[in-house]
Symmetry: C3
Subunit: 315 residues, 3 copies
């Protein structure tokens, strides 16, 4: 049994404030481990984790793999190209095969929304969603919240604005769900073509003016612009996108107080964010990356650690 | 020196009944290790294994890699695309280079029949064949035999039918050789275009009627249909193949007693096998996958374990 | 602090005779470790090394990965295709992200000359250059020097000739710098189109006659011919290249005494070197490969080992 009230991390949709707080608190202890001279604990020795990445990824895969190794788990990587999927096998058959090899945890990224939920219904393994299409990317939202909590002490009442392509962003959806659960106020900002209609029902405010958002937020989470959206006609040009929704120092200077800047990476410098903002003292972008490893260690420990003979973590 | 009478596992062609029995018995002990809370033993600590896969593969590579990690070997992966072979280096030079790095075991898959035998003549390393073109795939046959032995208690006298593309299948050839050595009765079943002439000389019976095969077998090993064979004109259409050689519940119901169903994977559901058969209680397809890790652990231990200071496995 | 007078290994340009001697001496001790029954030491336990290979490579990546594992470091691989670079992220952002994950050492190969120097200015991590375009490949030169020192006892006064495409070879440049530092006499030999003008300023002699070079050298380091240079019109044909600069037994027989033959691999047999030479008793090509692992262990230990609680290596 998991140390959370859940067996899997499929998304933040069904995670309570208590669950998220447990993860963030555990992640802080994991961060301490990462700062040791030998940043490694035997907590998950003998646990086998498969990283089943059916969409290409650098930082998320590496961050998970590092988290697994810090906890002494055994790891196996499945990349999209080397997979049997190209031979026409179903996702379920691939997953059942992996499980039959006595795998404990499947960390998966897949282009189809809901694919981790589908596998969770059919496998005994613990499933961790590392991004399912435009749906959720829960560990990203957890690391964003960890970073905000470090900066502001608490999430309750914090005013966070997500800027960019809200429609296609699993980072945005998981952040909205998680931040709302934790009592934050969430605004989304972007062109009308990139914000889903009716998103207010999730309890967020909508604005199409970045200048307005800057006036009423404590932190801005600037989303990566997927350049391929331009071909789909969702915005006229990179230049125009930058002019209206690119975060610049000049724009930020109009804020009543300095805003904290987040970005999930990889950044398009000069498009959704300028270098002077990305590299400024108020940017916490690299802290996000560090926290990413700690959050993933926490999730792995909390979900898989109880499988171990000794469930107590020596921290 | 190996704990078998062989240094390498190039194929089952020269493995005796005693050798195969040693592997299967050892694999059962390995399976017990896999069922422990921490399924890992230090048996091959310090042994370095290279997985030299010059043909793409998911399950076989992962199964070997997992077996290596369960035994605490150090593993290195060579995939086809990242290899110097594309720079025009000979296979022998690549292999000699690998060996010069003080590698103990080379697990190799290569499209050319006989390539592991070629390397075995030139290298000091232990070579394990993970599939050489249309020739042999010995660990697949060993895991198939392990699964059958678990089900039936013994292989002697067991009636096994291999169904499908016998001509191009290394799984079929290794199964025929291994099963005959163990005293089983082997039938092959498929369209005339996919069964080599004169295969009777291997001591097998041939039938072109799946219904007939079903009447006189205890177990059916359904081979994956390589869809590219259709383009080569070896069968008219998937639909027609399915009609004559697809294993369906309806066909199976005519058997005098329930047949055990094996498939080496990945399955083309609806082509060579229907889902109701693949997922039925008589299917041992997922047990095959589990046994695959155990068999590969056994082979690695038996061939490489004696290089260790202590050759005794603590089980 | 490093056990060398340098934090990084960006090239041999600023490495002194004492530094290089320290590395070669340490590499000899590492070679002894490699010859043990269990060739593994806990020296770098808890140190995390990223292999950031943005150009494809087999032997160098595998050699580094093996060296890292022999020293019990944790390793992560970044291949070019799976990297965010294809998403338009800058090299610096990728590297900063890697470092934010608490990486200790970055082993990098990149097509741009100077890229490791660039990262060293911006990262706190230890950078090891595994080849930067046509610039340097310091560990290759170190392993070449280790091999020569084993054969001749010392490098001082040794007469070494580098044969082939000197203009585009990072192996040549690092060898020239390292060998000159160690007091060797260096000659370069190749077609005028493949030798940079003014290279004499590096203290080397130039010849366009391989027969002449053979008369006055103790060792020949035959460079791989990049076949794509032909398309660039730098030599007329492989056949003509072979006729003038291909190393054959017949040519070597005219040497006053047997020459030692090196090649960094992968070899184009029949182009820059014939098989009878490559496989002869005077070829040390496979010793180079073995020494490569030892040299990389030495560099990793000397640069990263002092980060460890106990800096003393148990040898």
């Amino acid at each position: 049994m998991s140390l959370l009230t859940h067996k899997h991390l499929l998304g933040l949709a069904d995670y309570s404030e208590a669950d998220i707080t447990t993860i963030l608190d555990t992640a802080e202890r994991m961060k301490e481990i990462l700062e040791r001279p030998v940043p490694k604990v035997p907590t998950l020795r003998g646990v086998t984790v498969v990283n089943l990445f059916m969409e290409s990824s650098t930082r998320t895969r590496v961050s998970f793999e590092l988290a697994e190794k810090r906890l002494s788990a055994d790891t196996l990587n499945f990349a999209v190209s080397s997979s049997s999927l190209s031979k026409g096998e179903t996702l379920l058959d691939t997953a059942l095969n992996i499980e039959a090899m006595k795998i404990d945890v499947v960390v998966m990224r897949h282009k189809s929304p809901g694919s981790p939920h589908f596998l969770a219904r059919h496998l005994d393994s613990i499933i961790i969603n590392a991004g399912d299409g435009c749906h959720e990317h829960p560990t990203q939202a957890l690391l964003d919240m960890m970073t905000l909590r470090q900066k502001f002490g608490a999430l309750k009442g914090l005013r966070v604005c997500l800027v960019g392509d809200i429609s296609h962003s699993r980072v945005a959806l998981s952040n909205i769900i998680g931040l709302k659960t934790m009592g934050a106020q969430v605004t989304v900002c972007g062109p009308a073509t990139l914000i889903p209609r009716g998103i207010e029902r999730l309890g967020v405010q909508v604005t199409h003016s970045l200048d307005e958002a800057i006036q009423r937020c404590d932190a801005l989470n600037v989303l990566r612009l997927q350049l391929e959206r331009q071909e789909a006609g969702l915005f006229p040009s990179l230049r125009e996108y930058h002019q209206y929704f690119g975060l610049t120092r000049r724009r930020l200077e109009k804020a009543p107080a300095p805003l904290t800047i987040l970005h999930p990476g990889p950044m398009n410098r000069g498009v959704e964010i300028t270098s002077d903002v990305a590299d400024s003292e108020h940017s916490v972008i690299l802290q996000q990356v560090t926290n990413g490893v700690a959050v993933r260690m926490a999730v792995l420990y909390l979900l898989a650690g109880a499988k171990m003979p000794s469930t107590e973590m020596k921290v």
